[in-house]
Symmetry: C2
Subunit: 79 residues, 2 copies
């Protein structure tokens, strides 16, 4: 079973990396980019075949390691 995890900065948390990308796009001539936010995307290959157990396991992984829940949100999608 595969899990896709998105880790994004919470609303209101400054994103200097995103700002740098927006600046670079502007200097390359791409106008009309109002904002860029960068997050992380993880694909996990799990041995677990039960969807509920996999969801619970990945949630625990996010809470403990993959996301800093003080400043980041995460979302889990099983495929």
């Amino acid at each position: 079973m595969k899990a896709r995890v998105h880790v994004t900065l919470k609303h209101g948390v400054l994103d200097p990396q995103g700002k740098a990308i927006a600046g670079a796009l502007a200097s390359l001539g791409f106008g009309g980019v109002e904002d860029v936010r960068q997050g992380k995307y993880l694909e996990l290959e799990l041995a677990e075949t039960d969807a509920a157990k996999a969801q619970a396991a990945v949630k625990a992984m996010c809470e403990k390691l993959l996301a800093n829940t003080v400043i980041e949100n995460y979302s889990i999608e099983l495929v």
Copy 2:
């Protein structure tokens, strides 16, 4: 208009960051994680309202800046 861009390493390209995460998960006691691949996730806020033009613009941004197309794939989703 908002664009969501996923940038992932091509199949066969080594992903040391993913391997490090897999190792860290294992050492935290999360068994059954067979593989982890880390990618980037970008949210772009665009002034453009025409979907076709926005798609073309984001594709050009990916080719020029956001993705290294030698080793990375990208996918674009407009919302």
